[in-house]
Symmetry: C2
Subunit: 291 residues, 2 copies
């Protein structure tokens, strides 16, 4: 039986509704989980497509909803946006709240295999399986067969890896993927290696094999729809490696129509950068979600 969704808050926003929900998450080991969901006004007339936004380190389900600048165009296009949290909360695992780039606020959108973390840190299942099931079971008018995904930084890593993994497995859960300043090669940078070493029984090797976008993109048979933006003034560029992902994509035969990686002069890692290109990303996805 699906868990009950509790409405935490609800705000009318761009003619639709932004609602924060809470429920008891099985995927996260029986912890309360929250998410925001924007439903456009046209959802009253029937099911709408959905765009999943994965936020970055230290964020919650609120950052994208409040600062992303996505909803104006999503409303105009008649597309819902689902904003999950970035990790389980309150798992009470030793060390969970010590660092800002590991544990709480830093779930990395994988299923942990290290025994210490594997009961709770399963954001991959939470985002790809549990949230769609819980939302459908609640009768909320979203058509999850028309789903795309995007994200920022750690959430860009999540968007890329969840998208590519679902293509490789043949599930094709998402029609398109985009990212702002994503961690493109986590197995080779400090944020990613720390996460993989901590969450995965097989450490960085397991992460490189299963959760590294620059590796996964080489395994996709068939076309992909990927848009990436990053800023040239991003202080965290050394954590991102967009050029590695781009080379891996080109080497795998994905051309500039399938994979666009745009370098944006002078922009940084902040939501001021994200919101500037928010409209581009929403319309990119709308092309596929409404096709």
């Amino acid at each position: 039986m699906a868990p009950t969704l509790e409405k935490v808050s609800s705000n009318k926003h761009y003619q639709g509704t932004l609602t924060k929900y809470k429920f008891r998450s099985a995927a996260l080991g029986d912890l309360d989980a929250q998410f925001n969901l924007f439903l456009p006004a046209n959802a009253a007339q029937g099911k709408v497509p959905v765009l999943v936004y994965l936020a970055g380190l230290t964020c919650t389900e609120d950052n994208g909803a409040q600062k992303g600048g996505f909803v104006r165009d999503a409303s105009a296009e008649g597309i819902a946006i689902l904003f999950p949290d970035t990790s389980p909360r309150g798992a009470n695992i030793e060390g969970e709240d010590v660092d800002w780039d590991f544990g709480s606020g830093a779930g990395f959108y994988l299923n942990a295999t290290s025994p210490k973390w594997s009961k709770h840190y399963n954001m991959l299942d939470h985002v790809t399986q549990e949230l769609p099931q819980v939302i459908e079971a609640a009768g909320i008018p979203i058509d999850f067969s028309r789903q795309s995904i995007f994200g920022h930084s750690m959430g860009g890593h999540g968007a890329l890896t969840l998208y590519l993994t679902s293509l490789i497995s043949g599930v094709k859960q998402y029609r398109s993927c985009s990212a702002f300043s994503p961690i493109c090669e986590p197995s080779a940078v400090p944020w990613g290696t720390k996460a993989f070493a901590g969450y995965l029984a097989g450490g960085v090797d397991e992460g490189k094999e299963n959760h590294d976008a620059s590796v996964l993109v080489g395994r996709v048979k068939g076309g992909v729809n990927v848009l990436i933006d990053y800023g040239t003034a991003d202080n965290f560029l050394f954590q991102l490696h967009p050029e590695v992902f781009l080379k891996a994509a080109r080497d795998a035969g994905h051309d500039e129509v399938q994979v666009r990686v745009r370098s944006q002069e002078g922009y940084d890692h902040s939501y001021y950068f994200i919101s500037t290109f928010a409209s581009d990303h929403v319309h990119f996805h709308a092309n596929f979600l409404k096709a």
Copy 2:
């Protein structure tokens, strides 16, 4: 001599730049004051008009910049936006940090006349005099002869009273004024009477005489350009009294072209409401700023 502006941070945003500045404020009794300033890209070619955004209770210079949704259209129109703070900070006045609706974060955009507060709580001078002087002295390319003002809640009260006062005095500092869910009759509601009783030597009577938009609008000779939006689901409607302002404006002969008060079905007091109508407000002001 004008104080030195220190750059706290700077982010490229919608082709322009959002910069946070700090300086030693004389108007606020020799305290550090911060503000955000968005400069559109076209400021590189010459001075640009400016829209001043006054935020509400508990806010800082960041809320409007991060959540308002104003910059996309301001950038397209080539208009700067100035985001002041909502009160002095760190004045160390007894009682300053006790309540969320008085003292820090609640300066009410007036000059205090009560001896306890009058050294520091002078947000009216800070916004109307000091910030333009400091910004001009720093050589930042803003044309303060093309200035308009808007705000939210307490900041809507500020926008209306600063605009109307400058019209009554003949200074005509602002070309147009708009507000989201403004406190329209502060001398008759809890937020306003608490502020007036505290900051003003003459208490609520002095506030009603000098700082109440529903009184001031009756004293303006000539035309006004005012747009107000409020939501019908606003839990704070009892603090706002938009209908009182509307009646006072009509009684004073200001027709629906001069004063538009729009009731927005189902919207509340939040930035989700503000951002929904942000574009309307920026374009309303652009009509006057670029005339």
